[in-house]
């Protein structure tokens, strides 16, 4: 009797609760209809911007946004959050209503942000032509622009002028330097790079005709992976030969590589603009930089280009003004100021032609290399290629057969893309 009563009570209680469940606003109709009227809505009191948590960058952005406040009267609240943590934070803060209007992200995460629905496309309109073609290509996904390009970066050849007589221009030059300057037992090397990191190795693949995903007008075909074609094998064998010839030691870590270069024991090294400050401090006037050497087939290696850009949060309530702010931060004057303070190159034609950059021996080399570069794929599936292809480079460095390894790797990538839910 007693048990029966309890059961009855509980069923009654839960049943009663569940019957009336569900939100009333379940079918809200789309509120936004005609938005693009071209007129600016009323000014908000403040805009929120997440800036990358790096001292110089924070300082530069703060000075720029102060000017914006002066001109428009809109307060800009800056929050320093590490660039790579911003997506996770936005995922949490956005729906709760504490999210920013503008975030700062590298372009290769656009695809991921879009499939999660965290950012809105933007309208570059009249300023479109001011940014470089490469950077515009980078922020394009599914036929729309998703960010205002702010920083462009790639890697190129640094060399030590005291060890290298003339600017290395072709792979042949580099190999000659490697041949003559390498003395591994003495920790002296002619040519070093992170040859087990696909980010740096890609140009040697791409120069022979390899590609990550087939790309047609900004639409990636993730079922067509070009990392095991003939070009890839040729590139892979080139990389393998560096190990076999003893030019690049196995187990080279970035710390060791940069350390040796700074000690003046390495003639040429492949690295990015983020190392310029450290290298210049160590080598002084001996530091030189040139675009990446021309491959044996006469092609310029296509280095991966990364474009960091300001993007608009899906949760922003002041979309027009957020775009106004992003355009302001990335205009020529402010881009140059940002370059001055933070040392990062703006992807604007007028800025790259500005004597400040064009006459800078090192940065002009980077600027030139970006012309040969191609944006990293921004499709979300790109996240599934890094581990397998880096593993493949690891196997290649250990002397395993290149085409076998690459065929297997592409299969793994297909499997991983499948496992990540791409075709559901």
């Amino acid at each position: 009797m007693k048990k029966w009563i309890w059961m009855f009570i509980i069923v009654l209680f839960l049943g009663g609760l569940l019957v009336a469940c569900g939100p009333d606003e379940a079918d809200q109709s789309e509120e936004q209809a005609g938005e693009n009227t071209g007129e600016m809505p009323e000014k908000p009191d403040a805009l929120k911007l997440w800036v990358n948590a790096e001292e110089n960058q924070e300082q530069a952005v703060e000075e720029i946004t102060d000017k914006y406040t002066e001109e428009t009267g809109i307060d800009v609240e800056l929050t320093p959050i590490d660039m790579l943590d911003q997506i996770e934070s936005l995922d949490v803060e956005g729906p709760a209503g504490n999210g920013p209007d503008v975030i700062f992200q590298p372009h290769d995460r656009i695809g991921d942000l879009v499939i999660r629905g965290l950012v809105d496309p933007i309208d570059l309109d009249d300023v479109e032509s001011e940014y470089t073609d490469t950077s515009l290509e980078a922020v394009t996904y599914e036929g729309e622009y998703w960010g205002y390009p702010a920083v462009i970066e790639t890697y190129t050849m640094f060399y030590n002028k005291s060890l290298v007589d003339s600017e290395p221009e072709s792979m042949e030059d580099i190999m000659n330097i490697a041949e003559s300057d390498t003395n591994a037992s003495n920790d002296e090397f002619g040519f070093l790079m992170e040859a087990d990191n696909f980010y740096y190795v890609y140009p040697f693949f791409a120069g022979y005709g390899s590609y990550v995903f087939a790309n047609e007008d900004g639409n990636y075909d993730i079922s067509d992976i070009g990392l095991d074609n003939e070009g890839a094998v040729e590139g892979g064998e080139l990389v393998q030969s560096w190990y076999e010839d003893g030019y690049i030691p196995q187990d080279l870590t970035p710390d060791i590589m940069n350390g040796l270069f700074q000690e003046g024991k390495v003639s040429t090294v492949l690295n990015g603009p983020w190392m310029v400050r450290d290298f210049a401090e160590a080598l002084g006037d001996d530091l030189g930089a040139v675009p990446m050497p021309v491959l044996d087939n006469g092609e310029h290696p296509n280095s991966f280009v990364g474009v960091k850009s300001y993007m608009m949060s899906y949760y922003s309530e002041n979309k027009e003004w957020a775009q106004d702010l992003m355009a302001f931060i990335t205009n020529k004057e402010n881009s140059m100021h940002y370059y001055d303070v933070a040392g990062e190159m703006p992807p604007r034609d007028d800025a790259l032609e500005d004597p400040v950059i064009a006459d800078d021996e090192i940065f002009s080399a980077f600027a030139e290399q970006t012309e040969y570069g191609e944006p990293m794929p921004s499709d979300p599936a790109v996240q599934q290629i890094w581990d397998p292809i880096n593993d493949a480079l690891d196997f290649i460095s250990r002397g395993e057969t290149v085409d076998e390894v690459l065929t297997e790797t592409v299969q793994t990538i297909h499997d991983q893309i499948e496992a990540s839910g791409a075709n559901q």
């Binding site: 609760l17 469940c21 991921d112 629905g117 793994t412």
Partner: protein, 433 residues
């Protein structure tokens, strides 16, 4: 007894205890009013009304959310609905507890009235309530904290393992849905998961058993040595032996990672090169595993050593003297006196050492990030389950699979915990010695 039964049958629904119960079921407090316990009735009434008024909307959405996980993409955030649903369930359980308590109370009071017991005065009732419930009031804040800080995240993780939350299907743009045991199924059926899972799982077990046992054995051996009467400078030796423990593991592991670098590290270059040996510490899975086990032994033995040294001091000397009189050998004394003493006092802590190494993320990730790569699987050669889960979550966004693997890890750890509690109970048998 027979009479009572008869009355019960006859009384049926009109019996006071049943009337009180039913009234309370209809709405908390009514039964108490019927029992003429007015104040109590008001308390229950106010409590239930305020509970319903404040939480109704929240629970309503929460329960709907946890069942459907949202219906309109972008509008509904599945992860938030899931969390709200879990919180609703917890709040609901608290509510139901109060509700049940109310019914029990009404019934109990009615029974007391039937049996002609006098109604306790207000003051008496409160005093009764207080003295019976005192321990519960004391643990209540802790319990509530525990539910929301420990239980809720665990439930959340458990729930994720049964959804399709992966890179291409993540909120807010997409809605999640429940997929039952599909994730566990693919873990053992789909090739890319199966191969990796079994090799990672077996290495995790081997790693746990070997690394932990070695650190315990080494700690024990050194503790016995240092405890020997003939050893001089005990204090200095002890200090030196504790040192590995004093340096933050974080720092030690990073330094070891540099030392073990096959080409540039000191171990190959300065030590082994004299013997003409070059060991591929980082690029060969076997040697990477060996290096990890050696490092963990080095990092872990000081704790065991300190523990055993402490316990060894407390072994009564007269036992050894008695053994000497009986002509016991050194080994017999160790086997029958020292070991039982040591293990009896330290077994739970030693079991915890195994559990800790099972999930020792730091050493794996800081030493070589689970590398070197292994052909045909998506985890490195030295990845243990926890570091693999990390990669799945933060590098490839397979949240559902990561949650599923975490559940399996949780089960393994619970086995350790189970034995630990069994052993802890040994403390209660104080008569044993």
């Amino acid at each position: 007894m027979a009479q009572k039964k008869k009355r019960h049958k006859k009384g049926g629904l009109t019996q006071p205890r049943n009337i009180a119960t039913l009234l309370s079921v209809l709405f908390p407090g009514l039964g108490q009013f019927y029992n003429r316990r007015i104040l109590k009735g008001f308390i229950f009434l106010i409590l239930s009304v305020s509970f319903l008024v404040t939480t109704w909307d929240y629970i309503d959405i929460g329960l709907w959310g946890i069942v459907t996980l949202g219906t309109v993409p972008q509008e509904h955030h599945s992860v938030q609905l899931l969390l709200q649903g879990l919180i609703s369930l917890i709040v609901l359980i608290f509510g139901i507890a109060i509700y049940i308590f109310n019914i029990k109370d009404a019934r109990g009071d009615a029974i007391a009235r039937e049996q002609g017991k006098s109604k306790p005065t207000l003051l008496q009732g409160i005093a009764d309530f207080y003295s019976r419930g005192f321990p519960y009031y004391m643990i209540l804040p802790g319990l509530v904290m525990l539910v929301f800080i420990v239980v809720l995240p665990l439930l959340f993780m458990l729930a994720l393992a049964f959804t399709d939350y992966n890179q291409y299907n993540s909120p807010p743009r997409n809605l999640l849905s429940w997929v039952g045991f599909d994730n566990f199924k693919s873990l053992v059926t789909i090739d890319i998961w199966k191969d990796t899972f079994f090799s990672v799982f077996t290495w995790t077990i081997v790693w746990t058993v070997i690394a932990t046992s070695l650190q315990i054995v080494l700690g024990l051996f050194l503790a016995l040595l240092v405890n020997d009467k003939r050893i001089k400078f005990k204090r200095s030796i002890r200090t030196v032996l504790i040192l590995p423990w004093a340096i933050p593991a974080f720092v030690s592991i990073l330094i070891f990672s540099a030392l073990f670098n096959p080409t540039f590290g000191a171990i190959n270059r300065d030590l082994l090169s004299h013997l003409n040996i070059m060991i591929p510490w980082l690029s060969d899975p076997f040697w990477a595993k060996t290096a990890l086990i050696m490092i963990q032994t080095w990092l872990g033995f000081p704790f065991v050593f300190a523990l055993f040294t402490g316990v060894l001091q407390s072994v009564p000397q007269d036992m050894y003297e008695a053994a000497d009189v009986d002509g016991g050998t050194r080994w017999q004394k160790f086997q029958h006196i020292t070991m039982p003493h040591l293990l009896f006092a330290t077994a739970p802590l030693l079991i915890m050492q195994y559990a800790q190494n099972f999930n020792n993320f730091n050493i794996i990730y800081l030493f070589n990030e689970g590398n070197p790569a292994v052909r045909g699987q998506n985890a490195g050669g030295t990845d243990i389950l926890i570091s693999w889960v990390y990669k799945l979550t933060f590098e490839t966004n397979n949240y559902n699979m990561a949650a599923a693997i975490t559940i399996i890890m949780g089960l393994v750890i619970s086995i350790f915990a189970f034995f630990q509690f069994r052993k802890t109970a040994a403390f209660k048998e104080e008569e044993r010695y």
